[in-house]
Symmetry: C2
Subunit: 399 residues, 2 copies
């Protein structure tokens, strides 16, 4: 596809967090934007590749709208680092992605959609077993949630207006012989539209795990001092337009969460204890990692309020690992407290009738696999002993 | 909603299989059809409930089109039963569904979308552990596939033209600030359309597991006499319009498969061995079950050819259990051989360059849970000893 590069000077200079956030979200601004670069040093311009025939003034107008909304009232706050082992020596670290595909540990079905087998799948289950050990330390109840989640439920959590850009609709076909026959005909015709056969969706693919939990116990009043604990793994879906790959930017991935619902101090203490337990485990595994306050992805309207809230209240700590093939670290987990946000939304109250607090500790399972292999290499005989033992008992066969 | 019942006399009498199939698929014929009944004895008429304001002649016209296509050339073949323990005594059998919800073992999020916890989730993992034991008898390689599957891949397997009616599209939003802002606005407006914000989908939610496996090894030439074996659990999605519930007709469920790829005689032998091993296990568990040849769901155009093919060639054996709350048995698994159909589609060949054969043994995990609880009751102390032990070690806590 022929493209042309267009440089756009920012109306004003912004801080590094806002600049990176703007750059990351440019692919969502106009379909004609097929590539993105930026002046990360000076933060005075961005450059986009426009598809042939794009309406340049219209695209630039949309970029300006997005910039103005995003930058409005944005505060550049310092981040707080609570654990720092980013400089631990990693003698076996190397870019691992291409070789994982070559060895067929990683099956690249499509950008954002992968399969795992052999040692990579064994690692997936090793991490899962350790996440379950961690959940057992909190005596968390095991739960399993659907993959689909109702639009109504996400609206109750104010999720879709806050994070619309990565949503995937789950749209079944209309119950009509004409629609179904039309789909049968069009689905094999290159370029034919399939959406006309779809019914208006009332479900989307889950972007997160813990909202299912709050929905399951909506309206619950807890006992005095009681804290509920639950754990679940779920398939999650975030369509990271323009950034999907086969390693760390997945559309379709797994998240394990441990969820805490109860008094503010107990939820905060559970977060602190999660961080300590995970840090001790990653130290045993010899990982180079750190944990710091973080902002979530955003979209225009809500960015200012959300980012400020997250940082100012330290609602989210991110677990980051160094990647040998990138300047940017990889976020493989997070330790979150949501104050009474979800409790208010789903009517979860304490004995006194006031909303409780919630929090969750979340792990991106495929990212743990990628981070580990990138830091420890592809020779499983050189992996830390408990990992090596688990993986060899699991079986390493690949088709 | 006000409805009116309309009885329609079939143009001609059909056999019981065709009649049931027609009845099951009526909800896909017109959106105005909101209820379905039929004369299962005489097989001379069906009755549909039409939504208020429905165009009755148009609906009846569509029903006639669907009937004619479906019935054309349909052969009513006798089924072949290979194992029959349907009359095993079940002292603890009782309808279990309502009580599973009451005890919170089963979380009814929406029709077709459920969560599990407590003993029901423990059972889910007990069955999974036994499916993995079975897979280990075949030394099957463990694999994990994405939840999404490319439209192109399903087209290669000729799946979407054969079984379009239960498909769910995975449609992410368009990369355009206007589309995303429109979605933010409309998603909170009752009844507003969300599809206009969606991009044309190139993926759907997987309706099955094994096609991912054939895609992963597409173009592979096997060694002389070699048979590949793989196993995976996956989330599967089939929107059974008009029949979704919280127990056995799920939109969003899990399937465990063991997949065989190799010489025709080896694949057939693996199917036979699967049946023997599963039957021995279900005998230990004291289940009332049988295994017989079966037809898959269908849609108009392809029904005649497919159903005939399946029965005539005994491509699919279904594992059925008796349900105390229903006249119809519940299909909880299947043992399938596909001859060279998928091998031809995905270029899987033997040493001599000819297409190999494929087969798969498939288990609906949630259906195993429902079938077991309906037959053995809700008191886990009365469950067969190996199940009781597994479940109590797993933990029974419910939120």
């Amino acid at each position: 596809m022929a493209t042309r590069a267009v440089r756009w000077t920012l109306p004003r200079k912004v801080g590094p967090t806002a600049f990176t956030a703007f750059l990351d979200k440019l692919p969502y601004v106009a379909e004609a934007i097929v590539g993105v670069r930026g002046d990360r040093e000076g933060r005075t311009w961005v450059e986009v590749d426009l598809a042939d025939g794009a309406d340049e003034p219209a695209v630039l107008g949309k970029m300006e709208r997005a910039f103005v909304k995003m930058a409005k009232g944005f505060f550049e706050l310092s981040t707080d680092t609570v654990v720092d082992h980013r400089d631990r020596p990693l003698p076996n670290a190397r870019p691992a992605h291409a070789e994982m595909i070559e060895r067929r540990w990683l099956l690249p079905y499509a950008p954002g959609c992968v399969g795992l087998q052999g040692p990579a799948l064994a690692l997936f289950h090793y991490f899962e077993s350790r996440f379950l050990d961690l959940a057992a330390r909190f005596e968390a109840a095991r739960m399993q949630y659907p993959t689909l989640i109702a639009v109504d439920t996400l609206n109750t959590a104010n999720y879709l207006t806050s994070f619309p850009h990565h949503i995937t609709l789950g749209a079944h076909l209309r119950g009509d012989i004409d629609a179904i026959e039309g789909f049968q005909r069009d689905v094999v015709a290159p370029g034919a539209a399939l959406l006309p056969a779809a019914a208006e969706p009332d479900h989307v693919l889950s972007p997160t795990v813990c909202i299912h939990c709050y929905k399951a116990i909506a309206g619950r009043q807890l006992g005095a001092g009681e804290m509920l604990r639950a754990t679940a793994i779920g398939s999650c879906f975030r369509h990271e337009r323009g950034r999907l790959d086969h390693k760390t930017r997945l559309w379709d991935f797994h998240m394990r969460e441990i969820i805490f619902i109860g008094p503010a101090d107990a939820v905060t203490a559970a977060r602190k204890r999660s961080i300590e337990l995970v840090a001790a485990w990653l130290d045993e595994l010899g990982m180079a990692y750190w944990i710091e306050t973080a902002t979530d992805p955003f979209f225009v309207d809500n960015f200012s309020a959300q980012s400020f809230f997250q940082l100012a209240n330290k609602t989210k700590y991110e677990l980051l690992v160094k990647m040998p093939d990138s300047d940017r670290p990889l976020a493989i987990g997070s330790f979150n407290v949501h104050h009474d946000f979800f409790a208010k939304a789903f009517g979860l109250t304490a004995a006194d009738g006031q909303p409780v607090h919630t929090g969750c500790t979340a792990f991106g399972v495929e990212r743990f696999v990628h981070g580990f292999v990138a830091q420890h290499g592809l020779d499983e005989r050189a992996w830390p002993e408990p990992v090596r033992q688990f993986v060899s008992a699991y079986g390493l066969a690949c088709l």
